[in-house]
Symmetry: C2
């Protein structure tokens, strides 16, 4: 596991996915809910079921908290109370063990990166650290599988990833007003990272499947760094 | 479509996948069979059905022509007569519109590459040219989909790709006796190429989904070139 994932409280010796005080949220919205039990669970389940249907039918961008609340027969304020943001609700509905935006924020936080590593290598190591946790990897591959077998799921995931991950990477890659260049760079990063997951975990192409984090960081880190900051046209 | 795919007779204005004299085989084994029709088709179908089952059950490496012939109730010589090599039989059973090894041979043939393009860029343009043909793209994505939803299919495809594509790329990347370095380079190339397919055609992440071949070649070609020939450790 990477130092970052560890710092963010992701996984641990027991293989469980935990939460630390570093800002990585639990899927139920975090500490805010920790004192409550029992009676709310039927309502929570109804909201999550409505969310899964709405996100599927309308995509991530098109689904609204208001619409999901209406489908679940509750007030929108209750959905906000239970889940906070749309991203958190989506993460809970899809059983994501971590919020991508918070993982990304932790990875980009000042002082986290080893000064000997480029940003590209650091980000790749972060992703590999997440995938080292079995539950994270399983969730990620499950989403990828659903995207490959359903146009609807692919659209939903594209919108979610664009909103919560790629937009932020685009900002990092090309600081300043949002522009096509940053988006292209973020999409290029996504293409290499997704392909690595496919080769390493699904097709299990050797020696990439068995390669160490260090070997992959040395080989692929410079690719991510170039996509983020180098000459690409 | 890339000049290479065109030269190899892949696709055309009608969208059909044709065959030229450049050595890219039809899925029935090519010209050798072109004069025969009718009576053999039941036998051919029985062989293809047996091949699909055997490749699925034993993988690409484990399935033998002899075993497939036995399952189909015919002599192994007849399978060779109909389909030639194991690669051709696999391609026919999986309805691949093209033989990977022959496409690769055509791409690597002397004089085919524009001297202004690196080998990495040339290979990427070749792949993009193949994917520009709807039938090729559909077949490729169908195989990818099956790999993501079935461990068995993933293993079969890994073995097929290793044997017919990655081994040859490894030789090109690291000429000399087969070694881990060439295999690592080939697997890295595969990771970027597979990820590009996922981002461009499945998840449709913009602007990679709509990007021109030239833009992708400029951005990703140097990645492939570095994986093939550059510093990766």
């Amino acid at each position: 596991m990477s130092g970052l994932a560890e710092a963010a409280g992701v996984g641990g010796p027991s293989g469980n996915v935990g939460v630390s005080g570093r800002g990585v949220a639990r899927r139920d919205g975090g500490r805010r809910r920790s004192g409550r039990r029992g009676g709310d669970s039927g309502t929570r389940e109804a909201i999550l079921a409505a969310a899964r249907t709405r996100f599927g039918d309308y995509g991530y961008d098109g689904a609204t908290i208001r619409g999901i609340a209406a489908d679940a027969g509750v007030d929108a304020a209750l959905v906000h109370h239970f889940f906070g943001t749309k991203e958190r609700l989506f993460a809970a509905a899809m059983q994501l063990p971590i919020l991508p935006s918070e993982l990304l924020a932790a990875a980009l936080a000042a002082g986290v990166r080893d000064p000997d590593q480029s940003l590209g290598e650091h980000m790749l190591r972060t992703v590999l650290g997440v995938w080292d946790v079995a539950e994270m990897r399983a969730t990620f591959l499950g989403l990828l599988r659903s995207a490959l077998t359903s146009e609807q799921a692919a659209g939903m995931l594209r919108e979610f990833a664009t909103e919560t991950i790629l937009g932020r990477i685009a900002e990092v890659a090309a600081p300043g007003p949002p522009g096509a260049d940053g988006q292209f760079r973020a999409a290029l990063v996504a293409s290499q990272v997704l392909g690595l997951a496919l080769a390493r975990y699904v097709l299990k192409i050797e020696p990439v499947a068995q390669a160490s984090t260090d070997d992959l960081a040395a080989a692929i880190g410079p690719t991510i760094e170039r996509y983020l900051t180098g000459e690409i046209s």
